[in-house]
């Protein structure tokens, strides 16, 4: 049996004296869409950041397609290019156009021929609905457009999986839909995705599995329908009640 795309085994992580992850064991299979939900400060983002080595973990193991994630090993570059990340605040390069943002990694990190990378970059921007914005700078784009450029930038790396860190949390409500739409189409094409999100509708509709995280522990996990409609753990029930009916 081939190894899981993303495999976490008893991962622990502390910031100073505060333990953020208290032994996380989870996996994401090839082509699977997994949503990570939970209150803020529960460690969701930290999990993503340990997966692509933006953050070092203290204990346990993180494996990507059978390769151990180690920030100090040379394999980290390969892991980072294969685990693309989409950030809450987009983090587009403000001094480069949409197209330049998308082709930056392929040309300068993966050393692809510029013509080839540019052609693919144009296709990817067209695919996220931004064919007309190829030469726009990030400051000239709306939040939703910026996030779609960021998704195109992630896709341009031809990753094995994409990690989404609250991709719609910084968006105005009316712009959330266009980003979720793009993510949904990726999921339908079989992209492996690990998504930290507060969009329960998206999780219910698109995710294969949902993990509920609270205070550094995975409290409950299950199929999206099951966990979101009939949570068993009282903490999950309480969280969902607050998210779905905030007032």
């Amino acid at each position: 049996m081939s190894p899981a795309m993303i495999e976490l085994g008893s991962v622990t992580k502390s910031f100073g004296t505060h333990q953020v992850l208290k032994g996380i064991t989870a996996s994401v299979e090839r082509g699977e869409v997994v949503c990570l939900i939970g209150p803020s400060g529960s460690g969701k983002s930290t999990i993503l950041r340990c997966i692509n080595g933006l953050e070092a973990y203290d204990g346990g193991l993180v494996h990507i397609d059978g390769v151990k994630v180690d920030r100090d090993a040379s394999s980290i570059v390969g892991i980072r290019t294969s685990m693309a990340m989409v950030f809450q605040r987009f983090n587009l390069f403000p001094h480069r156009t949409a197209l330049e943002n998308v082709v930056e990694g392929p040309i300068y990190v993966k050393k692809e021929p510029a013509a080839e990378a540019t052609a693919r970059g144009r296709d990817l921007l067209a695919r996220v609905g931004l064919a007309a914005k190829i030469d726009a700078y990030p400051a000239q784009l709306s939040g939703g457009q910026m996030q779609r450029v960021a998704i195109a930038r992630a896709l341009a790396m031809q990753p094995k999986a994409i990690l989404f860190d609250e991709p719609t949390s910084a968006l105005d409500p009316e712009l959330v839909g266009e980003v979720l739409e793009v993510m949904k189409s990726l999921a339908e094409e079989g992209m492996t995705m690990l998504v930290v999100t507060h969009e329960m509708g998206f999780a219910r509709e698109v995710a294969d599995r949902v993990l509920f995280l609270d205070q550094g522990v995975i409290v409950e996990e299950g199929s999206a329908r099951e966990l979101l409609s009939a949570p068993r753990n009282p903490r999950t029930q309480d969280f969902l009640r607050r998210v779905l009916r905030p007032i």
Partner: protein
């Protein structure tokens, strides 16, 4: 006024000779201080503790000693250790090294002002430290660095007059030589002041142009 014009015509060739050295000293030390300053700044932000420590020590030492004393040291003391420099070399080297400390602090401030998310985005597409600095951080830091850099350029142009203390016959020294032999203080120092101004104003315009050039993409 007629007298002024006649004297000016007479003094100008000598002053222009001085101007030549002023430009040489300024350009040379500006280049050297920028390169060295960038090296110190990159050492400071390298994340390697001992490199950062060395850079910090160098910068604080250079900032803590008057530029004049550093010039005297290079020109008058170093020969005792076998390093014999011409006055011009000592001036360029001395001002270049002394000013690298101020350049470095400006560069570091610019680099550290770049949003941390940019660094994470660069890392997440697999960029190493060098590539990230070159393609992501420095191009954005330049915008922040430029206005104070313009200040430093103008200060260096004016501080090149300190080279006169180690016998470089630059503009100020030429002027004071002419003034003390002709007693035409007003004419001479007016000309000297105008010549400095005629160099700083284009320099200020140049920095303004650079700011517009590197500001692209950030405004709506």
């Amino acid at each position: 006024m007629q007298n002024f014009m006649r004297d000016a015509a007479q003094f100008m060739p000598l002053l222009l000779q001085g101007l030549k050295f002023t430009i040489l000293v300024t350009a040379g030390s500006l280049l050297l201080s920028s390169l060295l300053g960038l090296v110190w700044a990159l050492m400071r932000v390298s994340g390697i503790a001992w490199l950062a420590m060395i850079a910090k020590l160098v910068v604080n030492t250079l900032r803590g000693i008057p530029i004049l004393v550093q010039l005297f040291y290079l020109y008058f003391v170093m020969p005792e250790f076998g390093l014999r420099l011409t006055a011009l070399e000592a001036a360029i080297l001395g001002l270049g090294i002394a000013y690298s400390a101020y350049q470095s602090e400006n560069f570091r401030a610019g680099i550290e002002a770049v949003d941390h998310g940019q660094i994470e985005a660069a890392q997440s597409i697999g960029m190493g430290w060098g590539l990230m600095m070159r393609r992501v951080v420095l191009p954005q830091a330049i915008k922040i660095i430029l206005p104070p850099y313009g200040n430093i350029m103008i200060m260096m142009l004016k501080d090149s007059s300190q080279a006169s203390t180690i016998t470089v016959a630059e503009l100020t020294l030429q002027g004071s030589l002419i003034a003390s032999s002709t007693f035409k203080n007003m004419t001479v120092y007016t000309l000297v002041a105008l010549l400095y101004l005629s160099m700083s104003l284009p320099l200020i315009a140049f920095v303004g142009w650079l700011e517009r050039r590197f500001g692209k993409g950030t405004k709506r």
